[in-house]
Amino acid sequence: MNRREFWLPRPLFSLFLALLWLLMVNSFSVAHILLGLALGVFIPFITRSFWPEQARVRYLLPLLRYFLILMIDIVRSNLIVARRILWYPDQLTPGFVTFPLELEDDFAITILASTISLTPGTVTAHYDSDAGTLLIHALHVTDEDELVRQIKAQYERPLKEIFQ
């Protein structure tokens, strides 16, 4: 571990914190910039041991794009689920689906699991690290394999790119 890694373990994250600080205090004065940077360095430093061990984001932009798509998906699928809940809740056919993971990084898996949960209609109920599967509960499922394929295409692949 070199000196920079010791004192500044995550420069990108430090910047992010500083920015967050400025947004929070809603002031871009020099004092706050300095303070934000100080906190940005200080907080990662004291919490470095808590930070996930392996996770390293390789590509920032694809990640942002991923989140944007996710936002849209959330809104879209929300509408679908709303319709189902409101108009024909009795005709829902829920079911559990086992999703075989290709991702290996815990951090990436977490993002995938969260994504699955956030998109209405599916909830990640369990992550089996030994088997490398996610157990998904779907509110309305007609074809399990189709669901798995969809998730793999839409979310797992981009994530794999970002993290590997």
Partner: protein, 936 residues
């Protein structure tokens, strides 16, 4: 001052005895100990004798030194005729007792203790008779009770001794308390405790409303000490003490203290109907009871004890009569009694040690083996019987003649003479019995030591001296009276009196006849003792000690049952008591109160608030209804907390909302932690009645709160808060007034508050440190499946949330002075974020990653806050004075620096440390494989 010396010399002597005992422990040095012990009393006696001329000139020597003037307690001594007489008896007989004890305790380890105690006792006794100040006298009065207690329990291995000692202490100690009351009242009436003042205030005392009570209390003290019926019961049981003690305390001196007190106060309080009837009747009863019981005692010391009681009754009777001549007779008999009773006890002691028994049914015919003792005993025994030429004869005759002089009240003038004659008869009988039974009356039966052990001749010397003195008094009564007793009698009446005329007494015919009747009757009675004893055996046997002990036991049992019934260890009951205590007086006070509605107008109903209020109520009621199901109840409690938070937010209290919310979650987490070891449900165990009672209490309490709230809310508010609003910015440097109050105006409260939090955490640490929840080990497994210990997804998110949460707490912390927030809330946010790490990653995992332990964090927080407060001293301001300034730095611009922020940092640090300390230690309890012993 040298009068005071008289009192304190024996203390010096006692100390010397103690030292000599420590220096020469063991049984072989009794002789030396006795010699040491004799010095102080002997000096006292000599000093007293040297005072005699001045006393005889009628002088009352008074010496006074202020001690506690606030309560009228002075170190004051008085030496007049009365005190001189008593003091001389005390020291004189004391010296002889020490000589006697030198032989009595020969070869015993306990001798040293005896010499110490006997001198202490002498101090106490001299103190009583020489005190000029009544409160001061009381000091010594209690001391005699105490030393007597110790001396009765001298042979502490005996159960009887212990019980006897306790009984005497309770009775005489209780009497002492009554006496305290009486003397205090007397002092209040007179305005002084000096005897001179009291004696000069007769009219004031007697005419005061409180006189009857005062007199009763004082007499209660005197009667208990002087073993008057029915308080006499302690005296026979005091005979468990070694014989020198019985001879000294329980016949010659201490028991006379009550008589002394009555004689002393007679001029001030006597001469009333009440005085006469209280004392006379008590004396008469005591006289008869003592004499009657004495006849049937088989124990020599028992007989002597009851005879003492009888004689004390007799003297009491005389004092009660109140006339000067009666007083003369009383003091004369008091002196002669001391002179004949002490040697009789000594005789009993010698017989006891020689034969190993005190039972007169066994001890017979000792004249053969102990002729000298027999010869000496003739005199005191005859004196006790009141045979002619003996001192006792004269005093009894004096009694008879005085009894005839009583004219009023009318019942007394015939009853008393008959009564005393009968008592005289009994006393002749028991006197004859003790002499005849011991020294004659055939052969001894089954004595432990036979032939009796030889006792040294020296042991007879004190007996001889006392017997001789007794004889001398009998032979030359007038001279004795004139030189010693007359002065005392004058002191008891505070007037010049003519001398008692003993020649007139010898010529009086009726008393002589009464005396004859008593004598003949007594001898007849003794001769007829066989059948009488048989009759007496038919009577139910009563042992006062057992009765006393039974009464005590019953009292104790009563006390225990009462206490147990009230203090039964039921928290529910205690809480109900507290509620009743809070509700009942308020109900009583406000029962008819009509001012609940104040003058302010009611405000409009806000539907949102009503909605919130309804949910708040419903959730609270839900908690109460479903409290048996613990986890659901906890969830409902969270709802309540949430809506309290919303209420704070709604009613312009953002700081409170933040605080309430964070605290609520932490509290629920803590409760959940605890719940995992508690049963999941509460059994339904309250009966219907209990539920109704509790509902009533709860309803009343709630109604009270509602009424109070309504009353206050409908009244206009006038508060000091305007000042805070006005000075918050200019004086406190912050716009969030609540925060400025917390860290500045009332920063001291906050300092206390975080101290409470810190202590709570340290306390949790301290008392869970060694707590082991062993049973968990069995149920704990490393179950995989759905219930894995640390779900990966949770762990990932929690870890990422930590830096953000810290940033947020920094934000909340820094803005707190001007906007809602502050150190406390920031601290809780930090703590919650870290708690999440514990939950997600496990105790061990998180603990390894914490930068510091938590206790030093708490301490540091407190130190930061305190030292910030102390900082203001440097500039001469009081503790916790805040300072702030707006700085302008180039580039950076304007910013504010406030000591309040530093103070808040202390708050923050303490909160983080305390919260985590509690959680981590609770977590540790639950953890099967926790990290070592200490967490935090």
């Amino acid at each position: 001052m040298d009068i005071g010396l008289l009192v304190f010399l024996p203390v010096v002597g006692a100390t010397a005895s103690l030292l000599s005992r420590l220096k020469q422990p063991g049984p072989d040095h009794v002789q030396n100990h006795a010699l040491v012990a004799l010095i102080a009393p002997a000096i006292c006696l000599l000093l007293l004798l040297s005072y005699l001329p001045r006393i005889q000139s009628g002088e009352a020597l008074v010496y006074s030194l202020s001690w506690v003037p606030g309560i009228g307690l002075d170190l004051a001594f008085r030496l007049d005729g009365l005190s001189w007489l008593f003091a001389t008896l005390i020291t004189g007989i004391g010296c002889l007792i020490i000589v006697y004890a030198r032989y009595y305790f020969a070869g015993k380890d306990t001798a040293g203790r005896f010499f110490v105690l006997i001198q202490l006792f002498m101090t106490a006794m001299l103190g009583i008779v020489l005190s000029e100040n009544l409160l001061f006298m009381l000091v010594f009065w209690e001391l005699t009770s105490l030393v007597s207690f110790l001396l009765i329990g001298f042979t502490c291995s005996s159960r009887d001794a212990r019980r006897g000692a306790r009984m005497s202490l309770v009775i005489t100690g209780g009497g002492g308390l009554a006496l305290l009351g009486g003397i205090l009242l007397l002092g209040q009436i007179v305005g002084s405790y000096q005897i001179s003042d009291v004696l000069a205030a007769t009219d004031t005392i007697v005419s005061d409303d409180r006189y009857p009570l005062t007199l009763s209390l004082i007499l209660l003290g005197a009667f208990t000490k002087s073993a008057q019926a029915p308080f006499h019961l302690w005296l026979p049981h005091a005979m468990a003490a070694p014989t020198p003690v019985s001879a000294y305390l329980h016949s010659a001196t201490m028991v006379k203290a009550g008589l002394f007190l009555m004689a002393r106060l007679h001029p001030a309080m006597g001469d009333t109907e009440l005085w006469f009837s209280l004392i006379t009747i008590t004396g008469m009863i005591t006289l008869m009871v003592g004499a009657f019981v004495a006849m049937f005692m088989h124990d020599i010391k028992g007989l002597l004890a009851y005879s003492t009681i009888s004689h004390l009754g007799l003297i009491t009777l005389l004092i009660g009569m109140g006339s000067e001549m009666a007083m003369a007779a009383a003091l004369f008999h008091l002196t002669t009694h001391a002179l004949f009773k002490a040697p009789l006890f000594m005789m009993a002691g010698i017989v006891d040690q020689a034969t190993g028994s005190r039972d007169m049914r066994n001890i017979n015919g000792l004249w053969r083996t102990m002729p000298a003792l027999m010869l000496i005993t003739v005199i005191p025994a005859a004196a006790m019987a009141g045979l002619p030429l003996m001192s006792g004869y004269l005093s009894k005759k004096m009694l008879f003649s005085e009894s005839l002089l009583v004219t009023a009240p009318h019942w007394a003038n015939t009853l008393i003479p008959v009564w005393v004659t009968i008592a005289g008869l009994f006393s002749v009988a028991y006197s004859v019995r003790i002499f005849h039974n011991v020294f004659f009356n055939g052969k001894p039966v089954d004595l432990p030591h036979w032939p009796p052990r030889k006792k040294p001749v020296g042991m007879l010397v004190p007996l001889f001296i006392l017997a001789a003195a007794s004889l001398l008094v009998g032979l030359a009564p007038q001279a004795t009276y004139n030189s010693l007793i007359h002065l005392a009698v004058m002191a008891t009446s505070m007037t010049q009196l003519p001398l008692y005329d003993f020649s007139a007494l010898s010529n009086a015919r009726v008393p002589a006849m009464m005396s004859m009747i008593a004598m003949i009757g007594g001898i007849v009675f003794y001769l007829a003792r066989g059948p009488l004893f048989a009759i007496h055996r038919q009577l139910p046997e009563v042992d006062a000690k057992n009765i006393f002990e039974q009464i005590m036991q019953q009292c104790i049992r009563f006390a225990q049952s009462l206490v147990y019934r009230l203090e039964n260890g039921s928290l529910q009951r205690y809480l109900a008591f507290i509620l009743v205590a809070a509700i009942a007086p308020a109900l009583w006070l406000l029962g008819g109160y009509s001012g609940w509605q104040g003058p302010s107008e009611l405000t409009e109903v806000n539907p949102i608030v009503v909605f919130g209020a309804v949910i708040l109520c419903l959730s609270a009621i839900g908690v109460a209804l479903f409290h048996h199901q613990r986890l659901p109840a906890l969830l409902l409690l969270s709802v309540t907390g949430l809506f309290v938070t919303l209420a704070f937010a709604q009613f312009s209290a953002p700081d409170l909302a933040l605080t309430q919310l964070s605290v609520e979650v932490m509290a629920v987490v803590i409760m959940m932690l605890a719940l995992s070891f508690l049963p999941q449900t509460s059994p339904r165990e309250s009966g219907a009645w209990r539920v109704v009672r509790d509902l009533t209490l709860a309803g009343l309490a709630g109604m009270g709160i509602a009424l109070f709230a309504y009353a206050v809310l409908t009244r206009p508010a006038e508060t000091i808060s305007g000042y805070f609003l006005a000075n918050s910015v200019s004086g406190g440097g912050g716009t969030n007034v609540v925060n400025v109050i917390l860290v500045d105006f009332r920063g001291f409260d906050t300092l206390g508050e975080i101290t409470v939090l810190g202590i709570a955490a340290v306390a949790v640490f301290a008392f869970t440190r060694d707590l082991h929840l062993k049973e968990r080990v069995a149920s704990a497994g490393t179950a995989k499946g759905f219930a894995e210990p640390h779900p990966v997804i949770l762990q990932m998110v929690s870890r990422m949330a930590l830096p953000i949460a810290l940033l947020v707490s920094a934000y909340i912390f820094l803005r707190g002075h001007n906007m809602p927030g502050g150190g406390f809330i920031a601290g809780l946010v930090t703590a919650v974020a870290l708690t999440l790490q514990y939950m997600a990653g496990g105790l061990l995992w998180a603990q390894e990653r914490m930068l510091t332990h938590f206790r030093p964090l708490i301490g540091a927080g407190l130190l930061i806050a305190t030292i910030t407060g102390l900082g203001s001293w440097l500039v001469g301001y009081p503790f916790l004075t805040s300072a702030f300034s707006h700085m302008h730095w180039p580039l950076i611009g304007e910013f504010e620096l406030a000591t309040a922020l530093l103070f808040d940092l202390g708050v923050y640090t303490t909160v983080v440390g305390a919260t985590l300390l509690i959680l981590a230690n609770l977590g540790k309890l639950m953890t099967v494989a926790g990290p070592g012993q200490e967490v935090g």
